[in-house]
Amino acid sequence: MDLLNLNPENASTLLSWLTFLPLIGMCVVLMLPASNLRAIKIATGLFTFIPLVLATQMYFGTFDKTVSGYQMVQHFEWIKVLGINYSVGVDGLSMPLLWLTTILFFVAVPASETVPRLSKSYFVLLLLLELGVLGVFVSLDFFLFYVYWEVMLLPMYFLIGIWGGPQREYAAIKFFLYTLAGSVLMLIAVIALRLDTGTFSIPELVAIGKAGGFTGPALLGMSFTTWVFWFLFIAFAIKIPAFPFHTWLPDAHVQAPTPISVILAGILLKLGGYGLLRGCFPIVPDAFHHFAYVLGVLGVIAIVYGAYVALGQTDFKKMVAYSSVSHMGFVLLGMAALTEWGMNGAALQMFTHGISSAACFLVVGVVYDRAHHRDLNAFGGLAQPMPRYWALATIAFFASLGLPGMAGFVSEALTMVGAFQSQVGWTDEAIASGWMWGPFQWLTLIATIGIVMTAAYILWALQRVFLGTLNEKYQDFKDISAREVFSLAPLLILCIVLGIFPWFVLDWMEVSVADLMQILTFAG
């Protein structure tokens, strides 16, 4: 129990309030008449704003970034017979993502204005989705974690399936099937862990894993921890999405309405990375060690392959979607490197990509709302009628590209340095001979190709959309509206601020990442 840091002054119901505020909002929205869409929007805005205020207060106030372990813990028995607890808390890994979640959901409400066929149920589902996401980030009990994880599925299915593009039904069911397949693997792994150790508690599982306390049987020549590792890894990798489980993502992104794309890219993908850091690597660190290079390879494949495919896209949104695959590859590469820099980079990359990709999708949404298509080759010269939009779009895409001074740069640089320092796969003889070179050094080199390609497709896309001769059809496009700026501005400000002062997130994560690294390297 002391693993949860359960002393009285640490206990708090704040996280439960934060998680269930969207649920209260949902009930309020349900009671409003369906005809009064304005009131519904205001209520949804309010009930995404209150969590944002609360999370901001926690981020800068309540949360003590110098303390290791979980904070604001709440813990009580839920299903006593099965040893299932309601146990929530945050540490430096979840706190920034929690904050990001509340920001993005708040931003998504004004961005929903242009969604066709908008209705009450849209906002109900949006709030339900927020409940699920916040819940995953605060859960410290695997059962609770799993429940929240699955709570997200249904709202997402409807949000894509009802309010999406022409092929929304296909995209929605593909998303659902992929994620459920992963969830089933996770569930099996969780039950195996529970049967082996008698607990669902993540901190306890981490402690047992650290002590090498798993006694489960080997099956088909693979040890128990290896099975658990792969089952959990695939479950989370589908969500990231890591190569080769990424194929649901372009469909889901292209078909989803703009605000849902924003949430999908900004937060839902981070759940995969967060899940790996919270519920996979620290529980089975030895298996993680053993397969770190595989993860690194998968990460680099995602980086290069995602960028390569993005280069070939003519659909603006699909390009951004593949850029997400590419950028999330850095997360995997940074984690797999098993260095402090890499791990910090990966954790920061989750945050920065959450902001920059969300901003990119908003930018795409702005032009789509006016032109009703997203064909990159059909635009041109949009900088003339829409100069302010051009400026904002450039910031968003440069942040995504990783231009120095922008958010993406710091995290990608950290990741690359971390990966280059990695000693994974170094043989003793190689170290003795002073040949400081191993698989990760190669991988880092290959990853730079991805970075170059990223610059290429982003600059090329900006050029095709904003520069060149103006298409006659588009000359009376209105410039970006106040509402659109209102959605974009917080994200762009964060992009720049984090580019200059990355420690606004790094400092928060530092202690927890150090703890995590200690667990991971200790096992090696």
């Binding site: 299903i79 699955e150 009802i162 039904e169 069911i173 039950i191």
Partner: protein, 508 residues
């Protein structure tokens, strides 16, 4: 031989739920002859009162152990299934009362037959004696045959009844032959004598041998008997290889009857099956010989479970009729429940009971939805539901919850049920490795998602110009209640766990 003093009142008082039901059934039959009404809600009300009284007696008798007349055993395990049956039959009666298609018929016999089938199930799940088990099973089956063909003017209904009686007869023949072989080798019809739990033959001073002895003397006969008996049960629970009748019969029968067959009758089959295999193989004092045999039975059951769920789900993928899809889905769910039985331990049996309880809420809800829409549109195709989602949210939103629960996604009760089953399949086993079955169960959940979500897609993701369906308040209330319970027990399932656990007095 029975002594006359065995027939005293104590035995009768133990049988009070059964007697209540018998009385109710007879009263319904008589009042039907006296009132001569079409679409009589009064008869339904009598049936409901009788079932309610029986359920109350069952609840108050919870924890009582006893044997009436040496044949009917009163225990929590049987109580669970009897309670389940009365609750499910009650819902079926409500469905008959709400079924718009039944307005034309004299439906007194309908209630009578439903109650008779329930009585059959009561005896089937409440006895250790194979004779009474067969009689109960036959009573339930015979009533069900007639129910399936209740709309005798309708082609589908007549065909359904015909198929049902033919395959039902076959399974009865197979099962009784299996029992006769078992009798030939053990010399008793009492499961507890076979298992060695009862040393003295309660019926007489025969030469009964326990199963362990029989296994030693003629293992082939025992194996054959077990397979034949399993075949008989397999029909009742619609598991592979005797599942193929189910979709046709379920589709052809009137929807309330389909509901009865898919929920009450199936659960009754499971009750008898679990008692049979539980007492013979799982109970703690079965002895070494039988324990060695247990793993083989478990493996057979596991294969049956895997085949059932996979066949059911794959077939459900192709269906265009909601009713037929739900029929295949209920076949698949029989496979899920069997996972718990296949684990051949207490945790597994508990999980199966839990899953059946979960199945009650979500499946009754789904069938209620079907009944409502087939009443409104006169059709049972998925197509006829197009765009109905937003037009009748009080009916369709609960349906989404049922479908999600049937898929096994939290926070619904179907998920906690699957959790228990996975838990049982992956749990500690002596020589029985069912990890593959857990993976199979998981994969099947993913397959099933596809066809369950097709219903949701048709309801919510597609548009149509069909008018708003005419509301039916009692059905909406019922569906909302079931949906609420589906979620509530998904989050706080301790009561269901306790209920399932209390049923494990079977194994002591």
């Amino acid at each position: 031989m029975f002594a006359l003093q065995d027939l005293h009142l104590q035995g009768l008082s133990l049988l009070s739920p059964e007697l209540t039901l018998v009385t109710t059934a007879l009263v319904v039959l008589m009042m039907d002859l006296i009132w001569k009404e079409r679409d009589s809600w009064r008869l339904g009300a009598i049936g409901l009162v009788g079932l309610g009284a029986a359920a109350l007696q069952l609840v108050s008798a919870h924890g009582t152990q006893g044997t009436a007349f040496g044949l009917v055993s009163i225990d929590n395990f049987g109580g669970f299934f009897k309670l389940f049956t009365s609750a499910a039959t009650g819902v079926c009666i409500v469905f008959v009362m709400l079924d718009r298609r039944e307005r034309r018929h004299r439906i007194g016999e309908y209630y009578f037959l439903l109650l008779s089938a329930a009585i059959g199930i009561f005896f089937m799940v409440g006895t250790y004696n194979l004779l009474l088990l067969v009689l109960g099973l036959e009573l339930a089956s015979l009533a069900s045959y007639s129910l399936a063909g209740f709309h005798k003017g309708e082609k589908r209904s007549a065909e359904a009844a015909m198929k049902y009686v033919v395959f039902g007869g076959l399974s009865a023949g197979v099962m009784v032959f299996g029992i006769s072989l078992l009798y030939a080798v053990t010399g008793t019809l009492d499961m507890r004598v076979m298992s060695g739990a009862l040393a003295i033959d309660p019926v007489g001073e025969g030469v009964a041998r326990s199963l362990a002895v029989a296994l030693e003397q003629s293992p082939g006969m025992v194996a054959l008997a077990m397979i034949l008996i399993l075949g008989g049960f397999s029909f009742k629970i619609s598991s592979a290889p005797f599942h193929f009748w189910a979709p046709d019969v379920y589709e052809g029968s009137p929807t309330p009857v389909t509901t009865f067959l898919a929920v009450a009758s199936k659960a009754g089959g499971f009750g008898a099956l679990m008692r049979f295999f539980g007492v013979l193989f799982v109970a703690p004092d079965v002895g070494e010989m039988v324990a060695a045999y247990r793993n083989e039975i478990g493996m057979v059951l596991a294969l049956v479970a895997a085949a059932t769920m996979t066949l059911g789900n794959l077939a459900a993928l192709r269906q265009t009729s909601l009713k037929r899809m739900l029929a295949y889905s209920s076949v698949a769910h029989a496979g899920y429940v069997l996972v718990g039985v296949a684990a051949m331990n207490q945790a597994g049996m508990e999980a199966s009971l839990f899953y059946l309880a979960a199945y009650y809420f979500m499946n009754l809800g789904a069938f209620g939805f079907l009944l409502y829409f087939s009443g409104v549109t006169g059709r049972e195709t998925l197509e006829s539901l197009r765009g109905m989602g937003p037009k009748a949210p009080m009916i369709t939103v609960p349906m989404v919850i049922f479908l999600v629960s049937l898929t096994g996604i939290p926070p619904m009760v179907g998920f906690t049920g699957k959790l228990q089953l996975l838990y049982a399949a992956m749990g500690p086993a002596e020589g029985l490795q069912l990890g593959w079955l857990a993976v199979c169960l998981g994969l099947n959940s993913v397959i099933s998602l596809y066809y369950y979500m097709r219903v949701v897609r048709v309801l919510f993701l597609e548009d149509s110009d069909e008018p708003r369906p005419e509301p039916q308040v009692p059905m909406a209330v019922f569906l909302c209640l079931m949906a609420f319970l589906t979620v509530w027990f998904g989050l706080f399932f301790t009561p269901l766990l306790d209920l399932a656990r209390s049923g494990m007095d079977l194994l002591t």
